[in-house]
Symmetry: D2
Subunit: 349 residues, 4 copies
């Protein structure tokens, strides 16, 4: 047991128990301490894992010399302070998404982690699913041809957040998937949305991301929908994908469909164009996917990065990238869709 | 037979045959002449309806004294000239949607029809479906409570238009449904989109419509999608609707779901708010719908308006309203989402 | 026009209009006369096709020297008399399924047609769909490996027949598809069912067909179901098919799934067997299908058989084969599932 | 902790961990010992619940004086010996379904439990789901009218059993649901099936159950299907149910559909009957369901029965009832559908 990575977990609400379970079941790690300010949640943790120490004071984790790394599963607004304290205490950090509330906070955490040579990883869980891995492969291997668009709908009823708008809660998933699958940087965003609860942040939002190279992306998120939808379309010049995460199997369907463009592209009479555009519809194909629990894959990746000093797939830069987009989108939404430029190139640099 | 309304149809491509069939089968009307510049299409019409006269010159319809009304099923860019000529020839007019390419053209047709006391109707077919009629009833009777949002997705592969962008081809359906169901006027729009074919109009677009009274609408249209989707969510303070037009039955599902807001709205601490917002999930209910073919209902309404000098549900004003929105949306899309104001109040006046 | 095959149609109820439309639109045939005892139906035919003669007396078709072939779309109980009269009048015959009410009647029609060298075709429409053609290809090319089972569900609300039980109305479709796709003869059947309307035939039935070679088939048909279902599973040793005829596209899905059997088949301890059976799950694939209207393909095949003296794919033997199974199944159902042997080998001979 | 019911669990394979988790999380019970002959499974249990004692010898549970009750989650063929030993040791028993392999075994267990005044409960988990509870309510309150049929499909790929055929593994679920929902006793069964693996039990089966009162039931089970299906239709004279257990929500849909019978039932001409049968299609309605985990509800019911000396809903009689049907069905299947009579009346007595 001694050479296992020793994990402390802050926050045992919705996501914390999943982190604890996966760390406990991973061969190279164990959870020795959990903190939460709600004692009833700590009691639940204790009942299921009598061996784990619990505390209402997260300082106990920072000061505990046996703890190697800290996983933070608390509201967004608390991520920065907790992650910074953990890093300063010399702990590796796995922080819930979104990484922070501002770009500056994200940059500060990256700086602190690099200075201390600690692993800083953001919990973009979807990146570790078999479906997203497969879609990235299809894009990287040019199976889809040139990518034309990325269009996602992620809606359901609740859970309303109070410290951030719906983009920070739901769109963050789509942005982390898109960022990983497309490997492209948007140069600007336009967002619209509305709040239906006085004094609360927007509970419904629409985000368009502009890319170079004939590519556009759109994300539709909503906390107040009667049905749960998790559907993404990825259009390419050769093939197109439908990713429906609610499908029990066949989550990813690849359609051999598209348009064909022939002849003189400069022609400008309707008649001619009508001959130029053809429609191609072929077979549909749904590849078998790796069905491991994504969080299990992710925590093992976190442990491996700590053990081998590797940089995580979803590192601080990935987290920062998304915080930048969310900041810009929120600004655009306040201006009813006004275009807001991004400078992600330098970020990625 | 003599007292039947005598119809001439211009355009026998995709939609024309449906118009002819429905007029032929309606008890109070008949089609006596069809024009199209493609002789092979006229041959098809003749084979199915030997009694109908066919011509490649639409002037023959305008000059034919026995023809009472003309139905126009041609590309958008030709609607204005054909409709104006028909009205000037003293014929009642049923014109395909969208009504015209510009607001000025629409206003001119309305003026001409009123001057000559002729029926001018726009073929917003969906307004005449059982599903849309039912949704309007649910809104009018306040079954849904206050309307929070209208969110529609209408995507498929093809058919690319060359004279108008995808908003004019697909969003026009959603706008006509929304306009009829909600009975509200948006005050501004923000739209984004892209063209993937050099020199062609946008084949993919996202349109947000801003309303007063805590209401927002969004329309997602795409000519280059691997699957066909026709789904609309309507959120209300009491109930919410899922309208899936591809469902063979149960096209409209009403969910007794939503949020409840209690206590001190001015509170501003997270803890308290978490108590203030509650989630309500009850039964789902799918009402039986009138299953008549919408176009059949529509042509009978057109004939009735001619016979009784009535104003159609989808009259010139309804057509103009939508052209105004499409014009503004196209302008906004060219400015990458820039807000464009509308003045529909006066339009509706 | 003169050298077109001249068709007479008996029965203009539910199916007749589809036959007339497809014959009228096929380049090598035309419909010159339609008979039905309901004058309101004849009026409907006349309105749509003024050129067609109509009559309430089907004798007019038999005696009309210009008519080459007769299509019969009437209740099952009338098929034999009408088809026999048509053949005796020297007309080629296309008769609705099921071919007749008894095996003897079917044999008599085959005999008459052969004697007079006339085409006798049974309207097993599904055989001419792209989906069924594709499934047959997959079986013939051994893509599925050895066929293990054919399991179909065909249920909906209505339309109750009064002269035959639900097997004759719905299972006949599955039997014609199965017969064509599998190319195997069942040696016996066991059927169960019930009638929920006093004095009426069974409105719900379950039919098991026993084959040699490790193959079994089952058909579930029901006139009293709340939803419409058209789903068939075909299990093979290599791959398996899901055929859902209500899917707008992707009607046929092929699953690279199954079990693998290795090692000592004679072992008889649980432990060992658990090692012997493995599960294989690979990709799913949905081939593009020919989307022509099946009835169009079928009527053109009928015309071609007449013109070239060919034997139809769905000839009298195919019709007889299915009547034999329906007779045996009805007998078994009356005995609550008692096994009833078939001797189809000689039939097929 | 002392006054909690003390549970021992035999078998920690597929189902055992679910039993342990639910007992551990129920307020009135705890698990003190788990046995399994596979040490790697015991290690898994120990890792998750360090406080639980583990053993490879189930005798340790029988002889442990602190254990009040034993839950048996082992292969069917071992149920009888383990349950009998547990009862003889004075322990209450919760045994996996099916209860035993023979009727005699089931009767013997019932006798032993009654003699010793111990709780004997069979783990028919589905009976404790919100969906099944709701369907029973709808039947009991006559919402559906008279029940016409119960038709279930339960198919998927694997897991092949070696000691029992597919009826004992899958149909047992449908039988327990049907028995609880309908409250009717079938008087006979007819079953067909096939084994595709030499020397193994049937992996695919079709079971018809005959009832008095115009009611019939059918169950379609298959271990070798490419897709997972869990669909049940319940037809009634007033309303009909579609129960799809794979739906995330809306598992139960109630259709206000059916036939209407009017006028002279004795008439015997087709024409008249066509007037007698009418079709009624109204709204569809999907009630909100209790979404608690069924096994949690069930273990709490087991604990309550022990504490209060109550008879479980799914008691030995319910288990026996289903074993009788499975025995008869297996016998009928061996005779290719031959009718096999049941005498459940006396069973229920």
């Amino acid at each position: 047991m001694e050479n296992k990575i020793n994990i402390g977990v802050i926050g045992y609400g919705y996501w914390g128990p999943n982190l604890v379970r996966n760390f406990m079941e991973s061969p190279r790690a164990k959870v020795s301490m959990v903190s939460d300010f709600k004692t009833e949640l700590l009691l639940k943790a204790k009942t299921r894992y009598p061996a784990i120490e619990v505390t209402t004071d997260c300082q106990d984790l920072f000061t505990n010399p046996n703890i190697d790394a800290i996983a933070i599963a608390t509201p967004v607004s608390t991520h920065f302070d907790l992650a910074l304290a953990a890093l300063k205490a010399g702990k590796h950090v796995l922080v819930e998404k979104p990484m922070t509330v501002t770009t500056d906070q994200a940059l500060r955490l990256i700086e602190e982690a690099e200075k201390r040579n600690l692993v800083l990883m953001v919990d973009h869980t979807f990146v570790y699913t078999g479906a997203v891995q497969k879609m990235r492969d299809l894009v990287v291997t040019k199976e889809l041809g040139d990518i034309y668009y990325y269009d996602s709908v992620r809606v359901n009823l609740g859970l309303f957040q109070h410290d951030v708008n719906v983009l920070w809660d739901l769109a963050v998933h789509d942005l982390s998937i898109m960022n990983y699958v497309l490997q492209e940087q948007p140069y600007a965003v336009s967002a619209t949305g509305i709040s239906h609860v006085p004094g609360e942040p927007e509970n419904l939002a629409y985000l368009t991301l502009f890319f170079n190279n004939n590519l556009i992306a759109h994300i539709n998120v909503n906390w107040l929908a009667p049905v749960k939808v998790r559907r993404t379309l990825i259009g390419g010049s050769k093939k197109m994908i439908l990713f429906d995460d609610l499908e029990p199997s066949e989550k990813v369907k690849i359609y051999d469909k598209g348009i064909t463009l022939n002849g003189n592209q400069n022609s400008n009479t309707d008649k001619v164009y009508q001959m130029l555009i053809g429609y191609r519809t072929g077979d549909m194909w749904s590849p078998k996917l790796e069905m491991n629990e994504a969080l299990r894959t992710e925590v093992m990746h976190f442990v491996e990065c700590i053990e081998q000093g590797k940089r995580p797939i979803t590192d601080g830069q990935a987290g920062l990238h998304i915080v930048k987009i969310l900041e810009a989108a929120t600004h655009s939404m306040q201006q009813q869709g006004q275009l807001v430029k991004l400078n992600l190139a330098e970020v990625a640099a």
